[in-house]
Symmetry: C2
């Protein structure tokens, strides 16, 4: 275990952990649980990948609130088939990502079970009161922006589920997508920047896909959306892979989950301020993909004309 | 869902919950997960009992830190065999106990699985910095005190596991023990009182039994213990049941888990102050059972002479 920061008064090993709240901030709390057979397959990656991803999912939720992550507690339910070395690697994968974002593991709980592996995490962050980014602040006319690229994790997962019939030259292409599926990069720094700069009226993370995120943000804000299909930043390798499979990359990217990007609603008048902040995103693009409307409908503009945004896809297990 | 207290800025339904920390206090965080087949059997109680107990286990950990509980987040992993009405009852059982202690459910997560039912809870409380009760503050000469009665839950569980060969007149006797197993009462108010009054140097909850608690407190404080066997407050009905089964009630009560009582180490000079506080415990007794020593050994004094304290019993799943 790495040394605990000085704001941790009591760490692992007592009945509970005790931490000093960050001065002048609110506590942000999120929980997400990864269950074997539902959220991951042990054949599709390493134990370290599972540990990384369990934390990434939670850090993404904090980022989408504008919060800076601070600490995490872990609950593990272990099947007898899990080797001890896998347990070590899982925790190692989690701790490596944690230390890269200065997140402290402050508590935990381990149970043996005959059932599947369950990795439960509860993460805490800090945000100033007026800088909380909720889903419900969007207004008609706000522009919709998205961080990064979409669809890579979905392509990577689809490839892991498909017998390897791809040509050798395609293997390298899909490797980046598989890596994105196994080890997503939560937008921690971007979340903190967005929280501090108050350019966004609403934000949501895209753990369940872009279509789901659009639909949830619209519902919470009581608005509609128009998405410009060609503007959606589909990951280049993912697009190539979906096309090779005979699928529409845009539809696949809209439906696919496991994109830990952030969707923002930003007033049009803040476009310049947003551009200034986006320069601090260290190479992660920020792309305008549409607009909030007053009509309550979800519209996807395609080169063939407007369509209803397909929102059928959703994990049962959304947070 | 009951209405949220005004210190909850963002409750269930966004990427994360946002809460205002209690002024001038530290955050206390604990997580405990109940797994079907390990911590409970659905045949041994109702779904509401499971919801109650999952929260009780966590509130007991907070109480043993001297903290006042405030909020909780819930993570459920549901097998297909769990009826929807059981899910409702489980949450109802949890919310009923939560509201009786002014605890707010601020977030959650539900996943379907083919495996066993998993109920994960992370609970938060507040405590002032100098009032945190850890396990490691005990010193040689401190007196050991325990709240309530011990062994009832163990007797209740043993009865549920045994074919009902008991006589009719014994049924009523064991009913209280079964109730104690199914719906433990965490010592929330006592924990808050102990935290405020700073009479204890160390405290631990007895979720894994008295023997385990004594051993853990001694190890953390780097001291030994001498327990006066006849002083241990074994629950009267449990004692009768264990005797009827041919077991030593004291040994059964020492080994049995699921006692959500609190073990305290208190300087001898604070005995009068402790008595004053104990008058506020509303009928829950506080019993002196032994002393901390400098010898690092764990001794049980019995009428037959001193023995080594039996500490073999432990859940794999301690928190």
């Amino acid at each position: 275990m790495p040394p605990q920061p000085d704001w941790v008064a009591v760490g692992i090993g007592d009945d509970a952990a005790v931490v000093e709240p960050a001065r002048g901030t609110l506590d942000v709390v999120t929980t997400d649980t990864l269950v074997e057979g539902v959220h991951f397959d042990r054949a599709f990656g390493s134990a370290a990948d599972i540990g990384h991803k369990a934390l990434a999912v939670n850090l993404s939720d904090l980022a989408a609130m504008g919060a800076t992550p601070r600490s995490v507690v872990l609950s593990l339910v272990l099947p007898p088939t899990l080797p001890t070395s896998d347990l070590d690697q899982l925790i190692e994968g989690l701790l490596t990502l944690a230390s890269s974002h200065d997140v402290a593991l402050i508590g935990g709980n381990i149970t043996r079970t005959e059932g599947p592996l369950v990795v439960g995490l509860t993460a805490y962050g800090a945000v100033r009161r007026r800088r909380v980014l909720t889903r419900d602040g969007g207004r008609p006319g706000d522009e919709l922006w998205v961080t990064g690229w979409l669809g890579a994790a979905a392509a990577g997962l689809a490839r892991l589920r498909t017998p390897p019939r791809v040509k050798a030259e395609d293997k390298e292409t899909i490797a980046a997508c598989i890596a994105q599926y196994r080890r997503p990069n939560p937008r921690v720094r971007i979340g903190t920047l967005l929280g501090r700069n108050r350019v966004a009226r609403a934000a949501i993370d895209l753990s369940d896909g872009l279509a789901d995120g659009l639909s949830q943000l619209a519902r919470a804000s009581r608005v509609g959306v128009v998405v410009e299909g060609p503007a959606v930043p589909v990951h280049e390798d993912a697009a190539r892979w979906f096309i090779a499979q005979g699928q529409d990359p845009l539809i696949a990217a809209l439906a696919g989950g496991d994109d830990y990007e952030i969707l923002l609603a930003v007033p049009r008048t803040y476009r310049r301020r947003l551009a200034v902040i986006a320069r601090l995103f260290r190479g992660i693009p920020l792309t305008r993909i549409g607009t909030l409307t007053s009509s309550l409908t979800l519209v996807l503009n395609t080169p063939q004309g407007p369509e209803t945004l397909p929102t059928g896809y959703a994990h049962f297990a959304s947070s």
